[in-house]
């Protein structure tokens, strides 16, 4: 499985090159990758269906529970087949859709990257690895939404999608880390094998909420839904792939994946049921009120994701099974409808549901695919959508909690879906042909292949649901439920209440379709879609955040050295003062045996003080440098008196060198700036405090007992081990010889820097 990820990444790396070599067929070549992965998945189908999950482990960082683990069980394989199967058609579709786009290579790179990341999510066996791929999908989604980067709307939408999903991802990361701490492992197979790990753990609800935030932002659940309709700025293949069939389902996948671990945490169920339920109804309503085909599809996708979250939240056997069945049905018809919309947009130049009609004659294959997908969406027998709707209603009305509300809400959503299905499969293709910006004709082969195959699969999958879909869906829902429960799919269950509801849905749906204009007019009158919501909050908070960032940067980054130094020094001093007040042993033992003061040393010290004062007060640069030299020689003298002849010699030498260097370049250096008195007073304060603090520290340290094993060691072993009698020299060239080498290196680098500064000519600009 690692190999698949690596191949995917390589494909992403070479996609642009392939495009350069074979401009027209780059997407076709790259579609070999998902096809190969699909076949690989099919090859493992039998073994997975026998309940043997495949696990690959590459140990990495044990201390943080991070290992490169991949896992292929029923749920993973279901998603692998979905991602690679749809991906195959998307690559072919994109190849035609972006036929003449010079940036097609870039697009294919992002798309390959996304597909790899998505496969990584579903095959991860370790939650940290899953998180890395999770963020990688956000990143590639950002790049794909912003593909038309010349347009401001694209860039804004891309940023919005990324900020929402990535900030959700941060919550999720916190949840994962906390889970790792509490459970002691992040390996999925271990977590799933011991679903009681978090039972009675006080932190379980917090972990559950954190992880749910990540999943719900990714799956565009209310109130984080608003990024998805905006993400429709992306090219059609992106909408069809990322924003309906795969990426937005990553959240659902994660909820399903971790369901066994959290199903006993009460908050898990209630949050998912509520959020999912609200999103389901809200999304469908919003879809009904829009007329832009892509927006409508986006809102129905939000609604459909809400259904899946709701079903996973309910958590009964039938509801989890329904979630998986519906997920597949949705992927098939929604992917198709997005591609159909892409075709319509591509060939007519518009995508307003109100204005389009009569395209069926001009675009017969697109019509065929659209109609089939719409029938599946409406849940007409014998399409797979019908199978899904049956089990969905079954789950909704079988719910132990608030079954009435959930059932009614699901039914209403189904009705609205049906109404919209009429728009997509019937209204735009039948009747009088409408005026469009472009003269409509059928899309190229690459763009009808995907929709036709997927839509047809929706039909075949419905008729032969028991043979085709049942085994894998059964296996994947068993993984979620952690017990093996029989899933029985079929078209005919007899004249039951559910069947009656299905028929009623169709009837009501057609009614809503007929009166949809009135509903839209009603909502326009009340300007329902302009109500302030989370989106407005987003648009307010981003500039506010930027303002705060600018303000605080301006505050700390004034660009004036004085402010930085003052801040550092005052922080240091106040920390020292704070520590000495709060605690710490600051007892003074006393300066025992101080050295006698000798008069000739005092002369030197007085000379140094004069030098300091002179340096501070003079207006001549030369005087200042010479006075500083006096201070430097004074320090050297102190070193000399108190047993440091080597140090003193070095200091004398370096001091002389510095002064010579200084005087040499003096003429090229700026003159002193006149200081105003006010500033002098202001900077005197931190300086004096700093000096006083250092003096105090020094005196305090001197009043303590001194015990230096290092000093003893060197003085004992200098001659015996290193055969040198000058201990300081031996330390420098022998015991710490490598340090001295480092010091020489530093000098060398400084020399190179100086040479560069002197020699390189800067262009005047």
């Amino acid at each position: 499985m690692l190999l698949i990820i690596l191949i995917g990444l390589i494909a992403a790396a070479v996609a642009a090159t392939i495009h350069r070599i074979d401009n027209n067929r780059a997407g076709i070549w790259l579609s070999i990758l998902p096809l190969g992965i699909f076949i690989w998945g099919i090859a493992h189908l039998n073994s997975v269906l026998l309940n043997n999950s495949i696990i690959e482990v590459y140990p990495w960082v044990d201390s943080i529970c991070l290992s490169l683990t991949f896992m292929l069980d029923g749920l993973s394989l279901f998603f692998v087949l979905l991602v690679s199967g749809v991906g195959f058609f998307i690559f072919i579709y994109a190849n035609s859709y972006l036929h003449n786009d010079p940036n097609k290579g870039k697009f294919l790179t992002y798309l390959s990257l996304f597909m790899t990341a998505m496969l990584g999510i579903v095959m991860s066996g370790n939650l940290l690895i899953l998180f890395i791929f999770w963020e990688l999908t956000s990143l590639s989604s950002y790049l794909l939404i912003g593909f038309y980067s010349a347009e401001e709307e694209s860039r804004k939408s891309a940023l919005m999608a990324m900020l929402v999903t990535v900030s959700g991802g941060l919550f999720m990361l916190a949840g994962i880390i906390l889970l790792g701490i509490e459970a002691g492992t992040l390996e999925l197979d271990q977590l799933l094998a011991n679903p009681t790990l978090l039972l009675n753990n006080a932190k379980a609800p917090i972990i559950a909420v954190l992880i749910m935030i990540g999943a719900l932002t990714k799956s565009a659940q209310f109130p984080f839904h608003f990024w998805l309709p905006n993400a429709m700025a992306a090219p059609a293949p992106v909408s069809a792939y990322l924003h309906s069939t795969t990426m937005v389902k990553a959240g659902v996948f994660l909820l399903a994946r971790l369901s066994p671990v959290f199903v006993n945490v009460p908050i898990w169920q209630s949050v998912l049921v509520h959020i999912g339920g609200i999103t389901m109804v809200f999304g469908a309503l919003m879809a009904l009120m829009n007329t832009d085909m892509k927006k409508v599809l986006a809102y129905t996708t939000i609604s459909a994701l809400g259904i899946m979250v709701l079903l996973l939240g309910i958590g009964t056997t039938i509801s989890v099974q329904a979630a998986m069945v519906f997920l597949l049905a949705h992927a098939l018809y929604k992917g198709t409808l997005f591609m159909v919309t892409g075709n319509v947009d591509h060939e007519t130049g518009m995508r307003d549901l109100n204005l389009l009609s009569g395209l069926g004659k001009r675009m017969p294959y697109t019509f065929y695919a659209g109609a089939l997908a719409a029938l599946s969406m409406a849940g007409v027998i014998p399409f797979f959508g019908f199978v899904a709707k049956e089990i969905l209603y079954g789950a909704a009305f079988d719910t132990p909690l608030v079954s009435g509300i959930v059932g009614v809400a699901t039914f209403l959503t189904g009705v609205m879906f049906t109404a919209l299905a009429f728009e997509f499969g019937y209204k735009i293709f039948m009747g009088m042909q409408a005026e469009t910006p472009k003269h409509p004709h059928e899309a190229p082969f690459g763009m009808i292949l995907g929709p036709i195959v997927l839509a047809t699969f929706g039909l075949i999958g419905g008729i032969f649901s028991e043979q085709i879909a049942q085994p894998l869906l059964h296996q994947s829902s068993s993984v979620i439920l952690n017990v093996d429960k029989v899933l029985q799919l079929g078209l005919w269950h007899g004249f039951t209440l559910i069947f009656a509801l299905s028929l009623l849905t169709l009837l009501f749906g057609y009614g809503v379709f007929k009166v949809r204009q009135h509903i839209r007019a009603f909502s326009t009158k009340l300007s329902l879609s302009n109500l302030p919501g989370p989106e407005a909050l987003y648009f307010k908070s981003i500039p506010a955040l930027l303002q705060v960032a600018i303000k605080q940067t301006m505050f700390f980054q004034s660009g004036i050295l004085r402010n930085y130094l003052t801040t550092i020094v005052l922080t240091l001093v106040s920390l020292i003062v704070a520590i000495s007040i709060i605690g710490g042993d600051f007892s003074v033992i006393g300066l025992s045996k101080t050295i006698q003061v000798k008069w000739f040393e005092v002369v030197f010290i007085v000379l140094m003080i004069v030098g300091v004062v002179n340096t501070l007060t003079t207006t001549s640069r030369l005087t200042a440098i010479v006075s500083l030299g006096v201070v430097g020689y004074g320090t050297a003298a102190i070193f000399l008196y108190y047993g440091g002849p080597d140090v003193a010699m070095t200091q004398f030498l370096i001091e002389t060198l510095t002064i010579v260097l200084f005087v040499l370049v003096l003429n090229r250096l700026p003159k002193f700036v006149d200081m105003d008195k006010r500033l002098s007073k202001r900077i005197a304060f931190p300086s004096v405090i700093f000096g006083a603090t250092m003096s105090t520290i020094l005196l305090w340290v001197l009043s303590q007992q001194m015990n230096s094993p290092l000093k003893d060691y060197y003085s004992q072993s200098s001659y015996l081990l290193a055969k040198g009698k000058n201990v300081v020299n031996v330390i420098l060239v022998d015991f710490r010889g490598i340090d001295t080498l480092g010091e020489i290196t530093v000098l060398g680098i400084a020399a190179i820097g100086i040479y560069a500064l002197l020699k390189v000519k800067f262009s005047k600009s």
Binding site: R562, T615, F639, L699, L732
Partner: protein, 117 residues
């Protein structure tokens, strides 16, 4: 003597910082130099001082006995002095170059790159 030297070190620290807080570029370098004197003295004194007893093993002995200056702090200071020289030389040339390029002598005016607005 320790008390006098401690106060002297504090004075050097204060003067060094005072110079660095000025607007002028040359004063910045003078301040850096002053600060490095102060730091060296600090390390020297903090390791305890002994008058006239360098850490050199007498001709007829193998180890140092009795009281002697701390060789560790001296080794540190030696390194610090040399590195300090590198910094000073680089700073002097850098300032010369900055002055030639911008024509300003005022450190406070060198904040264009940090300005956000």
């Amino acid at each position: 003597m320790e008390i006098i030297l401690s106060i002297l070190t504090g004075l050097l620290f204060a003067a060094g910082l005072f110079l660095m807080l000025h607007k002028g570029m040359v004063k910045l370098i003078l301040g850096i130099m002053m600060l490095s004197y102060a730091t060296n003295l600090f390390i020297f004194i903090v390791a305890r001082i002994t008058r006239g007893l360098p850490a050199i093993i007498p001709r007829n002995q193998d180890v140092l006995a009795n009281s002697f200056a701390d060789p560790v702090s001296q080794a540190l200071i030696l390194t610090a002095i040399v590195i300090g020289f590198g910094i000073q030389a680089f700073a002097i040339v850098l300032i010369k170059r900055v002055y030639a390029a911008t024509g300003t002598t005022n450190m406070d005016e060198l904040n264009k790159t940090d300005n956000l607005e």
